[in-house]
Each structure stands twice: as structure tokens, then as C-alpha cells.
């Protein structure tokens, strides 16, 4: 984005806040990857490496009472919504202190108190769910909104279609985004859709759509702000296509030989953290010393988090049997109305 546009529209503190979360996301996910390679992670390992700007950008654009339905490469959003690195690592290690208490793994973290709808593996399943959350806000006259995401792959599923359509018909306060990182697992876009821009999909619903540079945190943030403002004003949903590139394999076990190396080379230059640093320098908001400081800080935070996670207890076998059904007490503690109102 243009420097003047950025500095006129985004406060210095907000940009620095985003930079911090970009760095924290990277450090945390790098640590998770390293643990995975050491065989210390339970289950699979998907990261947002090289795509951190998307989750950091949109999550920074939210108000406290808003709700997200993240997709599976939105680590930054979890962190910004308040899940601590320690809780994240506990989740990856199957510990009881993770958001799912060991019941579920890795990015399947949900917490209504922090306005996070837990990810479901079945891609796009949470998009209809997000419309329902938005419906609740609209019906109660609250000014809250929902941001809900999917990958390029997920847009092929019927639930994407049904959710987009319903949101448009009822002008629900929801912002949809697609993280278009060129691949769904090994499947390139050309085998997924006969369009070159996923944003074309929005036309089927009479929904406004926009293409945004997903590696530019400022662009993602400002676009999200626009969509969110419209949603909050009762003007209905918007669809954002965040263009980016998946820089690792689908999961860490995948060498991704199907990706042309040139493509990775090209996108490596557009790394969202480097881009953010360039922007901060140009704006005079930060310099190498500052960046180094942040880097050291997040590394320490991640190490402390790992210590927390490792020290945390594993759940015990019989806990399997707990929680299949909710009780009235569970329900009465459920965070549902605006936190400000409560």
C-alpha cells in the first residue's frame, strides 16, 4: 500500500501491534514446526508461514465483542483474540490446559468467551455457522459482527455457497474472506475452479467483493475495517479475496514437490514480515533495533509458553467420558451476549 494511505489511516500503535503479532505468530509456528520435526507434537502440523498478515490484519480490525470463525491458517487471529502461546502449545501437546483440554488438537481451538468459533476440519462447515452467529447479532440489534474465513479449496464446497447466499439474502453482519494461497493441499487453482480470481464467486450472491494483497498487513487491516464497518452499519456482507502463497507443504509432512520452485522464490520476496518492516521503516515507526527487540521478546515468550505447556498435565483417560452433553449449568455460563452488555 501507499505509505501516505497507510500512515493517514492506521495509527502507529496499531501498526506496531500488528508487527508484534506477525512476529509472535512466526516464532510460535516455527517452534511448533521444530517440535513437530522432533516428533514432540501430537497429530498434524499446519502453519500460516508466509501468510501471517491475513489473520493478524483482520483480527486487528475487530472490536472486543466481535466473533471470528477462523480457518486453519489463522494462528495470528487466535493470539490476538487472547489465546496465549502457552495455551496454543498445550493444545498441540494434547495437554489439559489447551482450549480443548486435549479433546481436540492443533488449530481446532474455540472459545466463546474470546469470540472464537472453534474450527471444524470439514472445510467450509463453519461458514453457515458464522452466518447464524451474525443472525443472532442482527436479531438482537447488537452492533457485533462476525469475520469468517476459508481457503481457496474450501470455496468449492456447498456449505460455502449456502452460507454466502444466506448472508446476502438476510444482509447479515458478516465479513467473509478467502485466503487464496494458490493450492488446496496439492491441488492447484486450475483444477479447483475455472476462474482466476476467487472474488468472482461473490457475484453469484450479489455480494460486494474485493481482491486484497494478503501479504500486506496494512492492506488486509484496512480492507477488513471497511467490510466490518459496512457489516456493522447494517449494509450486509462483503467478501475479500486475500491473495497469498502457501510457503510450506500443506502440512509439515508434505515436501510440496508439486509447487514450482520459482513460485516460491517469487513469493519469498513478498514475505509479509519483511514487507511490514519495510513499511515501518518508511513510515519512521520502527528500525532494525526495534525489530530485533521484538524478535527477542517473542522468542522468549514462546519459550516460556513451551515451558508452561510442557509442565501442564495431560488429561486422564476417564475424561474421555466427560462433556458429550452440555448441562444447564454449562449453558448458563456460555458467553453469548455482548461482553460489554453482560
Amino acid at each position: 500500500m501507499d505509505l501516505a494511505d497507510v500512515t493517514s489511516q492506521i495509527k502507529r500503535a496499531d501498526l506496531l501491534h500488528m508487527y508484534y503479532y506477525l512476529r509472535l505468530t512466526r516464532a510460535l509456528e516455527d517452534r511448533i514446526t521444530a517440535l513437530y520435526r522432533q516428533g514432540r507434537i501430537v497429530g498434524g502440523c499446519y502453519t500460516s508461514h508466509g501468510m501471517e498478515a491475513i489473520a493478524v490484519g483482520y483480527a486487528s480490525a475487530l472490536e472486543r465483542d466481535d466473533v471470528i470463525a477462523p480457518f486453519h491458517r489463522d494462528m495470528g487471529a487466535f493470539l490476538i483474540r487472547g489465546i496465549t502461546p502457552g495455551e496454543v502449545l498445550a493444545q498441540y501437546l494434547g495437554k489439559r490446559t489447551g482450549p480443548t483440554k486435549g479433546k481436540d488438537g492443533n488449530v481446532h481451538m474455540g472459545d466463546l468467551k474470546r469470540g472464537i468459533i472453534g474450527f471444524v476440519s470439514h472445510l467450509a462447515d463453519n461458514l453457515p455457522v458464522a452466518t447464524g452467529a451474525a443472525l443472532a447479532f442482527k436479531m438482537r440489534g447488537e452492533s457485533r459482527i462476525v469475520v469468517a474465513g476459508t481457503g481457496d479449496g474450501g470455496t468449492s464446497r456447498g456449505d460455502f455457497h449456502e452460507a454466502m447466499n444466506f448472508a446476502a439474502v438476510r444482509k447479515l453482519p458478516v465479513v467473509f474472506f478467502c485466503t487464496n494461497n494458490q493450492y488446496a493441499y496439492s491441488t492447484p487453482l486450475r483444477l479447483q475452479m475455472a476462474i482466476t480470481d476467487v472474488v468472482e464467486r461473490a457475484k453469484a450472491y450479489g455480494m460486494p467483493g474485493e481482491i486484497v494483497d494478503g501479504n500486506d498487513v496494512a492492506a488486509v487491516y484496512l480492507a477488513s475495517k471497511r467490510g466490518i464497518a459496512k457489516a456493522r452499519a447494517g449494509e450486509g456482507p462483503t467478501f475479500f479475496e486475500f491473495k497469498t502463497m502457501r510457503m510450506h507443504g500443506h502440512s509439515e509432512h508434505d515436501p510440496a514437490k508439486y509447487v514450482p520452485p520459482e513460485l516460491l522464490e517469487e513469493w519469498k520476496k513478498r514475505d509479509p514480515i519483511l514487507a511490514a518492516e519495510r513499511l515501518l521503516i518508511e513510515a519512521g515507526y520502527g528500525d532494525e533495533t526495534y525489530f530485533h527487540e521484538i524478535l527477542e521478546r517473542v522468542k522468549k515468550e514462546v519459550e516460556a509458553a513451551l515451558e508452561f505447556a510442557e509442565k501442564s498435565p495431560l488429561p486422564e483417560g476417564p475424561e474421555v467420558l466427560e462433556g458429550v452433553f452440555a448441562t444447564d449449568a454449562d449453558l448458563s455460563h456460555q458467553a453469548t451476549h455482548s461482553r460489554s452488555a453482560a
Binding site: 480443548t100 474455540g110 462447515d125 453457515p128 447464524g132 452467529a133 436479531m139 452440555a326
Partner: protein, 332 residues
């Protein structure tokens, strides 16, 4: 339309009982709202919500696009945010389109990450109305095998009203199987006061000493008919109406069979892998010592529901099937 005060008096049909429950719950709790196809101005395919649109407006009586997965998913989201959605399937058969949302999202959310999903899906099910393979299904067997869901299936207006209210107040996803054949065929006078029928409790619709007939839905009435016929022959059937299909009321099932020592498990759903299989398995596991004869299952054969009248008649379990099975079992 029916109003809260009019609910008090006279006999009501099974259908009206459902309608009353919805209306009273909507008045009692402003979080309750309805979603589905054609439930607004049209009042629903079976006219259960006739007049509701005028009373509650187009947001609480929310006509949806034709997209079962989408609107069940939306109900899940609304439920998590504090509303109490009641979703109508136009016919239970179309619930297959929402299968993924129900089993993977609604059923598992609380277990996985502690988010309760208090919602109800109303599913008008069952045959006997010339509906053919796509308008007569009994889909309860599929959902029975999905931990996290509650399933109920009333057989009387009293239970229909009380179970629907209980379902709406339950903190979990509940599928409410309402039998289309019963809609306008049975009537009862209902209590004037607010009441619920607790989820998880079976009901002995007819006490008896010789054979337990364990059943639910429209089949309860066949079992009662058979019981009446057999009484003349000195065979005394106990008719246990499960009412709640998941979780099963094991105590009630076991205590009936402890008394009678013989069991017929009866349902309209296909035999193989139906809920009757679980009931029979539980008895064979837990009541083996009490059993004085094989456990007999009576159910539809393992085919889709056929359309043509003689086929559907052949397909559906009949009172005479129960009578014949009971005679044989009594003589065992």
C-alpha cells in the same frame, strides 16, 4: 391462529399440540425463533406455523432459502450466540442434506471445545401417507449413532407438546421426530398448565405382564391395538413407549423385561441397524438371565419406502405382525 389462551380448552390433534408448544415457547422466551422453508406466510408444508408470521414477524419466523445444510449451520451459530433456534425440515427425508452439519458440527461442539448448541430440529417423519422413498423416511437410525445428539419421537399429543418444550429448553441439539401419519389422526385434551415431558424417560403406555413391546412413534398405536386384541386371548402385553430414542431409558426397558421376561422390539424404520437392534442388544447383554425367549424384532424390511399402495402396505409393520409374533412368543 391458536393463541396462548385458546391452548387451554378442548381436544387438540398431535399437530396442534406441536403448534401450541412452539407458540407457547416463543411467548415464554424471546430467544426462541423458527427457521425453515415456507414456514412464514405459508405456515409450513403441514401448516404447523400457520399465523405465526403475523404474530412474530419475519425474523422470528424465518423463511430460508432451500439449503438445509446452510440453515442448520446457521441455527448452530445462532444457538451458540444465545438464541434458541427451532429448525423445521420440510420432510425428515431432507435431513440427509444437513447430515454433516448435524453430526460433525452440532453433535461434537460441546465435547470438543465446550460450546453448547441448544437447538431443535423438527423432522416430520414416517410413512403411511403415500409419500414414496423421499417423503416417508425414518432417519432416526442414522442419528442414533452420533454421540452428542438427543432424539425424541412422541406418539401422543401430550407427549408431542411436552417433549417439544423440553427439547427447546434442553442445552443440547435435539432432533424431534414428529410422525406425519399421526398429525391429524389422534386427539387428546391437554393440561392447561405449562408442562414438559422430560427427555430420557420412557413411558409405559399400557402395563402388562406377559410380553414387553418396546416401541415408539406411530407404532405405539399398533402395539396398543394388538394388546387389546391379545387381551381377549389372555396374552397381556406391556407397551413401552420409548419417547426418547437417545439417550435410551435403559432402566425403563430393563425393568419392563425383568417383569415380563419376553420382549418384542417394534419400529417402522428399516430393521437392520435400527434402534431396535440396540434395544435388543442391550437386553441380550444386560437382561440375559431374565429372558424366557428370543428377542423378536418387528420392523420394516431393508428397502427404501415404496410408493404404490400395496407395496407400502406390505412394507409397514402391521398390528397382525405384532399379534402373530406375540402369540408365538407367548407359547415359547
Amino acid at each position: 391462529m391458536t393463541t396462548a389462551t385458546s391452548h387451554a380448552t378442548g381436544e387438540v390433534t398431535y399437530l396442534e399440540a406441536i403448534s401450541q408448544a412452539l407458540d407457547e415457547e416463543m411467548m415464554r422466551d424471546e430467544r426462541v425463533f423458527l427457521m425453515g422453508e415456507d414456514i412464514g406466510q405459508y405456515g409450513g408444508a403441514f401448516r404447523i406455523t400457520e399465523g405465526f408470521l403475523d404474530k412474530y414477524g419475519e425474523w422470528r419466523i424465518l423463511d430460508t432459502p432451500l439449503a438445509e445444510s446452510g440453515f442448520v449451520g446457521a441455527a448452530i451459530g445462532a444457538a451458540m450466540m444465545g438464541l434458541r433456534p427451532v429448525v423445521e425440515m420440510q420432510f425428515a427425508d431432507f435431513i440427509s442434506c444437513a447430515f454433516d452439519q448435524i453430526t460433525e458440527v452440532a453433535a461434537k461442539n460441546h465435547y470438543r471445545w465446550g460450546a453448547a448448541v441448544p437447538m431443535v430440529i423438527r423432522a416430520p417423519f414416517g410413512g403411511g401417507i403415500h409419500g414414496g422413498p423421499f417423503h416417508s423416511e425414518c432417519p432416526e437410525g442414522w442419528f442414533f449413532h452420533s454421540p452428542g445428539l438427543k432424539l425424541v419421537a412422541p406418539s401422543t399429543p401430550y407427549d408431542a407438546k411436552g417433549l417439544l418444550k423440553a427439547a427447546i429448553r434442553d442445552p443440547n441439539p435435539v432432533i424431534y421426530f414428529e410422525h406425519k401419519f399421526l398429525y391429524r389422526r389422534i386427539k387428546a385434551t391437554l393440561p392447561t398448565d405449562d408442562y414438559i415431558v422430560p427427555i430420557g424417560k420412557a413411558d409405559v403406555k399400557r402395563p402388562g405382564n406377559d410380553i414387553s413391546v418396546i416401541t415408539y412413534g406411530a407404532m405405539v398405536h399398533l402395539a396398543l391395538e394388538a394388546a387389546q386384541m391379545l387381551a381377549k386371548e389372555g396374552i397381556d402385553l406391556e407397551v413401552v413407549d420409548l419417547r426418547t430414542l437417545a439417550p435410551l431409558d435403559k432402566e425403563a426397558i430393563f425393568s419392563s423385561v425383568h417383569k415380563t421376561s419376553k420382549a418384542i422390539v417394534l419400529h417402522e424404520d428399516n430393521k437392520t441397524g435400527g434402534i431396535g437392534a440396540e434395544v435388543a442388544a442391550l437386553l441380550a447383554e444386560e437382561c440375559f438371565d431374565s429372558l424366557d425367549g428370543p428377542i423378536v424384532r418387528i420392523a420394516a424390511p431393508d428397502t427404501p419406502v415404496p410408493f404404490s399402495t400395496p407395496l407400502e402396505e406390505f412394507f409397514l409393520p402391521k398390528t397382525s405382525d405384532i399379534v402373530a409374533a406375540a402369540r408365538k412368543l407367548a407359547a415359547y
